[in-house]
């Protein structure tokens, strides 16, 4: 193949690149375009209505953001949401379920797997409604707590960020579970058995053998979970609209409010750019983890 392509030169190369062009054009126009526009808009004072022209205002938007309490609140809540629901919740629970599935009997494996995966496959907004009903004052959770004679409360009002974090765990754990199940199945049986023979207990085997052997999957899973969690909008929107007040307003919801309720497109884009930069950093780390495969 190589000699043939060398003989026919650039025309051949062009013909070979041709099939890639529809995809490239689409991505340039509708993905790279908006990202470039995002970088530009972030330095302007564009507003939604009644403004003839916007002007470049340098780093003003960013300066405003870092002195704005609502922005800092959104950053903090995004951090809480990501750590609670992605790093701790989905990741640990997903690993736990995958480990239990290795030992459990087949009917229970199928049952639990089916239920957890259904929660994952449901459209985001439907998941939002289901968990809204679950956490609502007259909802299922309080009914159960009442039945157990435990104190109930209006979860979406008292602990909104905790409620939406649980919602995200409910919705997203399946992904981690699938990734870890696949990874655990690839560990050779002999290694586990020889450790058993050597008398290593359950926790020690997990810590010294299982976890090191699936560390690449752990890295991949953490990255993808975090990226996915950073961009959750619909789930929180349906459950709390970011409220009460701004007590569950993560960065995407803050960005939306600034753009459309306060008409500050330029400022909201600056926030979007910050989110995009954080996302890009995570992407780069993820690519390092996969680097052997490209």
């Amino acid at each position: 193949m190589k000699s043939a392509s060398a003989k026919r030169g650039p025309r051949r190369t062009l013909m070979r690149a041709l099939p890639v062009s529809p995809a490239v054009l689409l991505m340039l126009a509708f993905l790279a375009g908006p990202i470039g526009y995002c970088v530009y808009l972030a330095f302007t004072d564009l507003q939604l209505t009644g403004q003839a022209a916007s002007s470049l205002i340098g780093f003003e938007n960013f300066r405003k953001a870092f002195t704005d309490e609502d922005f800092l609140n959104a950053v903090w809540l995004t951090l809480v949401f990501t750590v609670l629901s992605s790093l701790v919740g989905q990741n640990t629970l997903g690993l736990g379920l995958a480990l239990l599935m290795q030992r459990a009997s087949k009917p229970l494996r199928t049952l639990t797997g089916g239920i957890v995966v259904t929660a994952w496959v449901l459209p985001e907004v439907v998941a939002g409604f289901l968990l809204y009903a679950f956490f609502q004052k007259q909802g299922t959770l309080n009914a159960i707590l009442d039945f157990l004679h435990l104190p109930s409360q209006n979860w979406l009002f008292t602990l909104p960020i905790l409620a939406v974090s649980f919602a995200n765990v409910w919705r997203g754990t399946a992904f981690s579970m699938l990734v870890y199940s696949a990874a655990l199945n690839e560990i050779p049986k002999e290694i586990v058995e020889s450790a058993q023979v050597d008398g290593a207990g359950g926790w020690r085997r997990l810590w010294h053998i299982t976890l090191p052997m699936i560390r690449r999957s752990i890295g991949t899973n953490l990255m993808l979970n975090t990226l996915q969690t950073l961009s959750v909008f619909g789930l929180i929107w349906v459950m709390t609209r970011g409220g009460p007040g701004n007590r569950s307003q993560t960065l995407p919801l803050y960005m939306y409010e600034e753009a459309f309720q306060n008409s500050m497109i330029g400022y909201a884009t600056a926030v979007a750019l910050l989110l995009l930069i954080v996302g890009s950093l995570f992407s780069l780390v993820y690519m390092r983890l996969l680097r052997t495969e490209v």
Binding site: A23, M27, C38, L97, R103
Partner: protein, 274 residues
């Protein structure tokens, strides 16, 4: 009881507990949809009824939004699959110094939080008059789904041995013919994973149509479902639940279909690993 049985029993109990917790919200939607007096709690209906389904199965509540969803997601999925298959072929078959940088860029784009670009996309669409159009939204959906689709498609295509094509090449088939007649049929499961995955992601997507469409008559189900709150006065939870089931069923069926075809539900988890 020996230790092995004991351990299995403990694992079974753990899974049973997790299943019980995870199933509660799902039980609510199923039971409420069949209950004339549904509220926010999980409860067994006094009498089973399909009235909620009857009430929502009318044009402007169910059929129009579902048709809109189908046009949006079907159109964008078709674009994604065709463009991804064409793009993956040279990436998988020819060696070129552009492959690696291109694939790295694709992989990078796969991970970008699309939510973050929606405000600039909105501003851009207003500028170029694509706002509130179905085709504009389809193009954006397609572009945002392409990086992952190309990545998956290329990996699946790598699994089809090149030797099978070489016979066709010596018979004078063009690369396009060999892609269409030999490679794609051989990677049927791969193509269906890409198709179903793209479609399911778009079907559930709320933010993109929420931002880019304005006219309620064009809204897909993911946005119109919010009308159960607000627009129609008191929330009828039974109807909301019934609609949720109708709206979710296609993606659940599609998922089951590909999970079967690839022997277990682990295909997507495995595919994402690379």
């Amino acid at each position: 009881m020996n230790r092995r049985t004991q351990r299995r029993l403990a694992a079974d109990l753990g899974l049973l507990f997790a299943a019980a917790v995870f199933v509660l919200p799902l039980a609510w939607v199923v039971l409420s949809a069949l209950d004339a007096e549904a509220n926010l709690k999980v409860k067994v209906p006094g009498s089973l009824t399909f009235d909620n389904f009857d009430a929502v199965l009318v044009d402007d509540v169910t059929f129009t939004p579902l048709l809109n969803s189908l046009i949006l997601c079907g159109g964008a999925t078709a674009l994604v699959v065709v463009c991804a298959a064409l793009a993956a072929y040279p990436l998988s078959r020819y060696r070129s110094r552009f492959n690696r940088p291109f694939l790295l860029t694709i992989l990078f784009a796969t991970c970008l939080p699309i939510t973050a670009v929606m405000v600039p996309v909105y501003a851009l669409f207003v500028q170029v008059d694509l706002i509130d159009t179905m085709h504009g939204t389809i193009f954006f959906f397609a572009a945002s789904g392409l990086p992952f689709a190309i990545w998956l498609m290329k990996n699946f295509m790598d699994g089809v041995p090149k030797e099978l094509e070489e016979a066709a090449w010596t018979d004078g088939a063009s690369s396009f013919q060999s892609l269409l007649r030999i490679v794609l049929p051989l990677m049927g499961p791969g193509v269906s994973v890409v198709t179903v995955f793209s479609f399911v992601m778009m079907w559930g997507n709320f933010f993109v149509p929420f931002m880019l469409l304005i006219d309620p008559a064009q809204m897909p189900a993911s946005v119109s479902i919010n009308d159960f709150f607000g627009n129609r006065g008191q929330v009828v939870y039974g109807q909301l639940a019934a609609f949720s089931i109708i709206y979710s069923t296609p993606v659940i069926l599609l998922y089951v279909l590909i999970a079967r075809r690839l022997g277990g539900g682990f295909a997507l988890g495995g595919a994402v690993k690379g």
